[in-house]
């Protein structure tokens, strides 16, 4: 049985890295993380956004990928709709932000499920952010992909109007 678990661990790591862009591929996630922790070796390990989490950028501000350096709001874990501070890791040549810049972002898609007040849940396949300024307005002019209703209560109205699909 120990041999079986060892040989499956690399596969687990590969699938986790592919699905999550999360730096914690180990089968023992944080205590507050998703319900998949029961059968972790053969299921996805979806966890919160935290420091060093790589996220996609869902707008046309120029950045392609960012790495979270701080979750704002005093917690260690970032969920859907939270503000984070991130460092741009990958950017297109002529964009509004450059590689290495420190930017504020709001998480618009999270792999970790987020519960709603009526008992429903929503979750996305990948983590994604929209880069915003200090006032909460997006720097880019277009937003790609679906965006959840949770942003409404956080007063990111501009993002909701720019998005092509609000779920």
């Amino acid at each position: 049985m120990a041999m079986v678990t060892r040989s499956h661990l690399p596969r687990m790591l590969r699938t986790a890295a592919h699905h999550l862009t999360c730096p914690c591929p180990c089968p023992s996630p944080s205590p507050a993380s998703s319900s998949a922790s029961a059968n972790t070796l053969f299921q996805q390990c979806r966890s919160f956004v935290q420091m060093r989490t790589r996220l996609e950028v869902a707008d046309n501000s120029g950045a392609k990928r960012v790495s979270c350096i701080k979750v704002l709001g005093g917690g260690k874990h970032g969920k859907l709709g939270d503000l984070i501070i991130a460092s741009v890791k990958d950017a297109v040549p002529r964009g509004k932000v450059k590689k290495g810049e420190v930017v504020n972002c709001v998480i618009v898609r999270a792999a970790m499920h987020r519960q709603r007040s009526d008992g429903s849940e929503i979750r996305f396949d990948k983590n994604a952010v929209v880069i915003v300024n200090k006032q909460g307005e997006p720097i880019g002019t277009r937003i790609f992909g679906p965006v959840p209703h949770e942003l409404r209560s956080k007063n990111f109205m501009k993002i909701l109007t720019l998005a092509d699909h609000v779920t």
Partner: protein, 228 residues
């Protein structure tokens, strides 16, 4: 055998006066029909020599107080011990006479009137009440469904959601189902309680042939498999 039988019958007739509810009490929940016809033949068969004396008693005790075997979800006037005793006597004799009893030919999960089954019974009532309000179709994994839903974060505007059901988790009133859809290149999964009042309408648009109860493998597949 006879002495125990007499004692059982005595306790049954005594307890029936204590256990049975007054007519004014509202009866909620199920009455298990399998009990009532089974009791009379059991009384007959269990004590042959005392049949004449107890037939009369049993008739009044059963017909007059049929409420004995219905469930009171609100006011439990009976103590668990008396209910348990009445149940054990009925249960002990029911298997003997299962072939004799004419009505209950179907083997079903009998919810006894014990207090420990209260949650099950309440759950069943809640499900029945939800079903009475609106028609909820049978949703299975592999169905492509369309939901009209009031999202609370959306200021109560009814939105349309579509997706393939990838799992259904049965838990009485907390039955939930999970929908998956690829929207604008991104896979989105949503979980909804089946009996949620926010769901205004569920319509099954398509059925796909699947050989699983949980279609979580769709997460690893190409986007076209989850798009609908």
């Amino acid at each position: 055998m006879a002495s125990t039988c007499i004692r059982q019958m005595a306790t049954l007739s005594l307890k029936s006066r204590v256990v049975a509810a007054p007519k004014g009490l509202k009866v909620v929940g199920l009455s298990s029909p399998s009990f009532t016809p089974a009791v009379t033949p059991s009384l007959k068969q269990a004590c042959e020599p005392l049949r004449s004396t107890f037939q009369v008693a049993s008739k009044t005790s059963v017909n007059g107080r049929r409420d004995k075997f219905t469930v009171f979800a609100q006011a439990v006037t009976t103590t668990p011990e008396t209910e348990a005793e009445a149940d054990t006597t009925a249960e002990a004799t029911v298997p003997e006479t299962s072939d004799d009893a004419p009505a209950p030919a179907v083997k079903s999960k009998k919810l006894t009137t014990r207090v420990k089954h209260i949650m099950e019974i309440l759950n069943k009532d809640a499900v029945e009440a939800a079903n009475a309000e609106k028609v909820i179709p049978d949703i299975r994994p592999g169905d492509v469904i369309q939901l009209r839903i009031e999202v609370p974060e959306n200021k109560r505007r009814v939105s349309l959601l579509r997706g393939i059901v990838i799992s259904r988790r049965n838990a009485g009133i907390n039955t939930t189902f999970r929908i998956r859809r690829v929207i604008a290149g991104v896979g989105v999964e949503m979980v909804f309680p089946l009996y949620s009042p926010n769901i205004k309408e569920i319509k099954v648009v398509d059925k796909r042939k699947v050989r699983r109860a949980k279609l979580f493998y769709l997460r690893d597949k190409i986007a076209r498999m989850s798009s609908c």
